[in-house]
Amino acid sequence: MGESAASAIEADVAIVGAGPAGIAAAVHASGAGRRVVVLDAAPRPGGQIWRHQSRESLPGVAREWLDRLDRSGAVTFMSTGVVDAGPGLRLGAEHQGRPIVVHAGSLVIATGAQERFLPFPGWTLPGVMGVGGAQALVKAGMEVGGRRVAVAGTGPLLLPVAAALRRAGADLRLVAEQATAARVLGFAASLWRTPRRLAQAVAYRAAFAGVRYRWGTWVVRVDAAEGELHATYTDGRSTWAEPVDLLCAASGLVPSTELARLLGCAVVDGGVAVDRLQLTSVPNVYAAGEPTGNTGVDAALVEGAIAGLAAAGRGDEAGAYIPARDRHRDFSLRTVSAFRLREELRRRVGPDTIVCRCEDVPYSALRPSWGARQAKLATRAGMGSCQARVCGPAMQYLFGSAADSVRVPLLPTPLGVLADLSESGNDSQGADR
């Protein structure tokens, strides 16, 4: 620290998040002739759903969008985490210990969603991962061949992850969806309007044919015995335990809204509130995809297009996308409704069950009547490295407590970088990439 002030980048449109929404926004904003900068903490674009080591492994639509991004002229900063944002618009980011400041006329927040991890006894044991988490790690090279794997989760993520684990050679033992059969079948029936989605679901299921796939079933606890994990499941009637090498357990997705909240964007029901052109409550700040609460890659692509055009000053051209966006919003609402979490998931916790993983705060230390702030001051819950990304949604689900306010830095950031980012008007010229 010390020698370099932050590198300063000037852009018309800054986009945070290089998943489908961010990519679509970048392509459209760039196509409108604007200088576009995309920032993402991951090493390659694609977000979660299009995560890859080599593009050949991706479906055609993903490859096409990544090619369009390459050709668009947008400048991408990968392995770059946005840690601060403020009026101007001014973003502060960190790339491998170095500060980067971005000045942009408008911003598209395409920060995606994260998994919701609800506590249950044993959830902190090594070998218990997320559902999307396991898929991300497999795509990044984790070997699962021959390992006994179980998946317990909910929602559209479940089937593709099960299929991917099977294709990667896992000894897949159980796929458990917590939603009831009635809800799942009702949701499946609603897919008749979108035959492509229905065919996709059937194909995923076929990819792990022969593996038990249970509805209305969830994991109750995990124990370690003789160096092995044993997961206990229930369907509300019977309860049973099975050994497992890798348990993939999560409870759906929550929008990632930290950046939006730092900027003061209004958030409603956990999603960033946006108007018909994806504009948030903060001038020149747009949000697209999962952060708005509209889940799914189709919604992300359309919302990204609208946001990119609007952020580029071409909102009048976004009209063509709006009917599609409304359709995808309906799909999203149906998804959220079908896979909403059952009450029993609240009752899995015991007094010793860790709720805040970063600070090892057990359920018994927390009072349901506390808000997030009081819980923090009394127990340290939410004060750790993940900055309440894991325990925040957990405590909201368990106690109904709203999240505490968000402050800089959005990610743990070296003090030297934070100091360099704070220097006002002291920026060097141009991009150094």
Binding site: M383, P414, L415, L418, A419
Partner: protein, 372 residues
Amino acid sequence: MTTRPDVIVVGAGIVGAACAYYLARQGRRVAVFDASFAGSGTTAAGMGHIVVMDDSEPQFALTSWSQRLLDDLLPELPADAEFDRCGTLWVAEDEPQLEVARRKLSLYHARGVDAELLEGPGLARLEPMLRKGLAGGLRVPGDGVVYPPAVARWLLHEAVRRGASLMEGRRIEAILPRAVRTADGQLHADVVINAAGAEAARLTPRLPIVPRKGHLVITERAPDTCRHQVVELGYLQSAHTMSTASVAFNVQPRPTGQLLLGSSRELVGWDDSINRELLGRMIRRATAFMPGLARLNALRTWTGFRPATPDKLPLIGEWPEVEGLWIAAGHEGLGITTALGTGALLADLIAGHAPVIDAGPFAPGRALPEAA
């Protein structure tokens, strides 16, 4: 609340909690009110440094007596109060500051406070993270740190055990002669104590208390990097500069191994947002003393409002303008250190007992122009 309390305390921060504690110990019926929850305001924002200060005789008297009161209570404090007698290390950048350190040393020794002067090499042995080339420092081993919200909670818990009531989430709208008004109506008591800290002047407008904003940063765990509360002697200049924004190096090791970093001072009303530029100045001031800090990851930043008075002394005593009203507020950055002394002093004054330290310099009436 069915029976009329003897005392109403407005504010359940550490100062209000200490008042409640000592008054309840006297057998009085105490009702403590807080608009939010106990210890949620300035008490939660500060560093929790328990430090003897010698800027003035009254300040020395109050801080050292408070330290002794805390020492008496240590065996009873719960684990989550996290008391650690890590000592203070005052750091001198240059020879003039080292001279200040020498003067502090003689003053402390003259008053029986254990202190040790160090030249540069000795400093490095005590705190290896400090950069080379510093002139020296003063180590005060009797100082320590606590986690203030837990201390405030414990003091209130002890008061409640002796019959006090704690009313959280109940905002006091006005202080009247021998009464307070809430949304539910009026509550009467012979004694009302304004312990509302930085907000005290909202209820008692002629109190010369203004919010003096400070920034803090906490890092990820970095065990065994820092052993004392390390403060630059230049801090004393920062604390005395009322007008412009200032920063001073101040770092504290937490029991978790995290480092708590401060400090800044500015007068910007009630704007609690993070001032990025001042935050950067504060961090750079810290890394100028401990370069290795630059690599540690900052986890959180926050701000707090110190209740500042013009003469840098708190207001402890009777308020001449309102019948039955007493003040326990205006502690600037020493509220945690001096809470116990404040509570004990006020309890003595209310009871008509001879105070252990001279209460004159703290008399709230000194703020009024008539008092000449």
